[in-house]
Symmetry: D2
Subunit: 350 residues, 4 copies
């Protein structure tokens, strides 16, 4: 960490900063230039917020040299993390497509959707049972009943299930049922939840907050990794900008940036990142072309009847076309679509 002093900083101020650096167990490399004095703070700086120095008198700028995250960083873990799920892997050569409705609504709806997305080439089933809704008056999900329906759909199709968790009090029941815990955008900085998940060993799909920076996403992943849970995938799902033609702005840059900064698998959610069924396939193709490891897509047998997110849900036929196109792009990228074969076992990960 480089602490650059103001041009007019006094020797006393410089001394005070040096004392603070040392008091935190760091060593000091002092460089007195013509324009500015620079104090290099050396040691385990990733765990020290820059604000510990920014408030000191005479300090101009504090510049990190090493990243503030370590376990998530590719610097210390150059190889891709490849997460095994049932019968396939995420983060390696296989492109996985998780698909299903925004909300689980009924037994027939979820079974029908699960069969359709499997038929089309999906490798996992998504479905919400605890729904984070902006309005207290909107449908809030089926709760545990929904989990049972998802488990049944999994039994029928062999597809592992991805379900959003909203609170650490739901963790026990969720772990009992789900293969992948999804942490939604609004909870990306719910640190209590992250810590609780970090103590579990269930695979996590961590979505980027709608105004979170890429660095903040990696810091949130670090919370889970620091708890000992290494099964983390990251998910870009669109950020909030001034543009209103789409629900969110897909930050496609985040795909190569994340692949560069971290070893964790990177997924894109074109349903939320566009908010409009007409644009989902184009952005799904773009994601894989940009290097993403997978997709999570909303599919509903009858979007007009969906209790939530109907506008952005694909019909199964359109989803099948999308999978076909994505498969061709995957091939150019030297990859292939993951396929689920044989029986589902919820086997865990050695």
């Amino acid at each position: 960490m480089m602490i650059i002093m103001k041009t007019n900083a006094t020797p006393q101020q410089t001394e005070a900063v040096i004392a603070q650096v040392k008091s935190m167990g760091l060593s000091v490399h002092l460089s007195q230039g013509v324009e500015a004095t620079i104090i290099g703070a050396i040691g385990e700086t990733h765990s020290i917020p820059t604000e510990r120095f920014e408030g000191l008198d005479g300090v101009d700028v504090v510049q990190r040299i090493t990243q503030p995250y370590k376990l998530a960083s590719r610097q210390f873990h150059p190889e891709n993390t490849v997460l095994p799920l049932d019968g396939f892997t995420v983060g390696g050569d296989e492109i996985s497509i998780m698909a299903g409705p925004c909300s689980v609504e009924s037994r027939s709806q979820i079974i029908e959707t699960a069969l359709a997305v499997k038929e089309a080439g999906a490798s996992a089933l998504r479905g919400g049972v605890f729904k984070p809704r902006t309005s207290p008056y909107a449908f809030q999900g089926l709760g545990e009943e929904g989990l049972e329906l998802l488990a049944e759909a999994r039994e029928v199709t062999g597809l592992p299930i991805v379900v959003e968790i909203m609170s650490q009090v739901q963790l026990d029941v969720m772990i009992k049922y789900v293969d992948v815990l999804q942490v939604g955008a609004r909870n990306m900085q719910n640190f209590n939840l992250l810590r609780a998940i970090g103590e579990s060993r269930t695979t996590v799909l961590l979505k980027r907050g709608l105004s979170a920076t890429i660095e903040e996403l990696l810091m949130s992943a670090e919370y889970i990794l620091a708890g000992g849970n290494q099964r983390v995938m990251l998910c870009e799902r669109g950020i909030r900008t001034f543009e209103t033609a789409t629900r969110n702005t897909t930050d496609i840059n985040a795909i190569p940036v994340l692949k560069n900064l971290t070893h964790l698998p990177v997924i894109l959610d074109p349903s939320h990142s566009t908010g409009h069924a007409d644009y989902v396939s184009a952005i799904a193709r773009a994601a894989i072309a940009a290097g993403a490891d997978g997709l999570i897509v909303e599919v509903h047998p009858d979007p007009a009847k969906a209790v939530s997110d109907g506008k952005q849900s694909l019909k199964p036929e359109k989803f099948a076309q999308m999978v076909n196109q994505v498969g061709q792009i995957a091939q150019i990228m030297g990859r292939r679509l993951a396929t689920v074969q044989g029986e589902y076992t919820k086997q865990g990960w050695a």
Copy 2:
């Protein structure tokens, strides 16, 4: 709610939309214009998301006429809500200033700060004990020990205490100690937490998420109000924009907009909304001049030593100057600073 059909929508599509409107218990007012057919959906529309219609074939735009929140709306509650706290009120003629350190660090630190801010004219004491930190390696707060220290500081000064809650599992212990529960920006859409707080009767300071719209802030307040807890204050604390000269961008427009849309008290936090001690006083004055009902400000006896937010914390002397300036502005606005007199009683609210 007005559902505007596309110019080329078919009669069948219009029929399907009408059927959906009716199936939700709403009645229909049909207007077939030259350019477009408009379906008015009439009834309790505030509880129905526009997405229930946006996904239907042939629909162009869905436009709300009434707001999606009701309990928070000034339309149905024209008078200001005035919340009594110990010895003063928020939302009426009095301007309340809540002040204190970002984190409670030690007994001497919090008692010293409490005495200093009371002396300077604060009417409540703020202090964090469960800290939401971007990094898992940063100081996470003293927990319940911090609550005890805050209670002691309250006993000494008579100042009611404002403390951030991060999870519904902390609710019982928090209610035992605090006068005002603060919901932080990162938890503004932690709907499980909002629902839990809605079932309590403790006063709440609900902070706007750093990329939440004003409407979303009001929807989150609606969650608490819908649970039966009417003691809600709203807090603007800066939004995330492209500008990097300050930590956040104070959305000063939000003050008159909120005062127009809602009857709830509106507070501004110039410490987080600027991120820099040098700018806090200017923005505090601006807030009161714009019509805010109060301020929440970070004050630390020795900002350079603060474990968090030192850069944006005022020293007590500078805070005292700020209070003085704010008091003069309050007078022009026909208001006065709240002052805490006599004994603290944690008396609740009839």
Copy 3:
């Protein structure tokens, strides 16, 4: 255009709005619903700003039904516009790649780059001679001398040239030399410049402003089209958001959205939209996968020596790899790379 009156609007206010609608040559379709009165304004509304009604007493919301642009709209021009350039076309089956340095620096630099990008598969040469620089102290371009060097490079390679114009006073000299006039992001709403270009018949590459909405981009295109110049391509080049990991945020959603709203060709500039050479190829592939009609890319024989934009410029070898990958994606999309054959003629467009 639908003018929705407030619930408590008086009959007099409604009358006044109706009178204003009629005074603008529009006819009225009145719909008095239970919750609100709606005034439909019918006629040539695309040329009337909504603000002409928004300021009137009693008006709640003004909602357009038809788009505020007409010549740029696919609604009135369903077929793609295909622009012929020398030996190839833009907006049809061919994917065109324009490439070259940010700034023309010297004869050898531009000739060398032109030969290298042609060899790699580019179909046009870009190069700046009037540079919009944030700092008055930065290199401002070679001016007309640069145009001569570009013309020479064109003669050598047969590649048409794309050059940015900054002011209408440069129009005559630019038209004398260039094949495609580029309007940069900072000038997207320089309406005097747009009008002047609209009166020319030179092909234009209109870049989106860094905080312009997609609708505003189309309105700026409308300025040029309204002047009679139909040779307009649009270019997404990244928007400004809170994310700082990349120079801008590529709005990849804009590709399918624009292809849906307009018949004009859509180009993406991955150099500016990422600001980093390491990410250019990934975003170039994504653009074509999302449906873009072409790319404009910064290439420099020695980026470290570039006087501007070195950080985001590709070396020719890396550019050649990118072209190869893009060509494969184009094939999946049912398209092919444009190639320049035979002699350059600057033949114009009948």
Copy 4:
């Protein structure tokens, strides 16, 4: 300027950077730390873009120590610049309020408005004659005829006039008529225009672009100052964010930040920064409380009839109330409203 090399940079890369630094006339201060090598580049670095080093192999981060602007910086010019206009000054103790319609529409409209705003306490008259309009179909202004009407209004009232310039080709005619040239948000980075104005000696009101950073605003001011024109005022007019409740987001933080960074006067435009007449007075008060030197406000005798910006224009009575409130806040800030006395002389500036 500090160039921080990557941890794994080679000695050859470091040598190449050093060579580049020296080739630009700067001297080098090398600091080889444990974690990183830092190259200090010393000399006239404000005129050198950081990108000249960011593209070099092995470079991690380039950090400025001195600001990239010099003439606009308070560092080199600690005293406030106080600009004399007719009978009053801007940037000193006086608060100046410029007011008038968005567009000059007719003789009676502008004379009536001029008299009304003078009566209410305005010290200058604003009015647009060349209008930057998003739509090519919207009213584009009266042109030189409008300038004549403004000059007549000035003669009647003694108020100096502030008019927006859109292109350098308008400069001669503008200088003939106006007292203050306004550069609008969309032209803040029209560098040709800035350079042309820099060669004049007319006072300039430079508005911040709707997505320009504070630093970019100061760089644009630097263009004018570098041309020799020292008569520059800056104007915050709202930035573009995700919030849609108001037309723009007033960046009130920009007021104290600019007053800290620069010696130039700082004005706020609450009409554009809110877009709504109901919020103008609150934000006007906030601006002065935050330390602004003046206001520019849209006033129209009959906003409902205004050809542009009617929604955000104050009626004269409401403007008079606003001036009265602002005057009281000014007093608390130790300032007073500027008043225009005696005859108008267009006397220039010694």
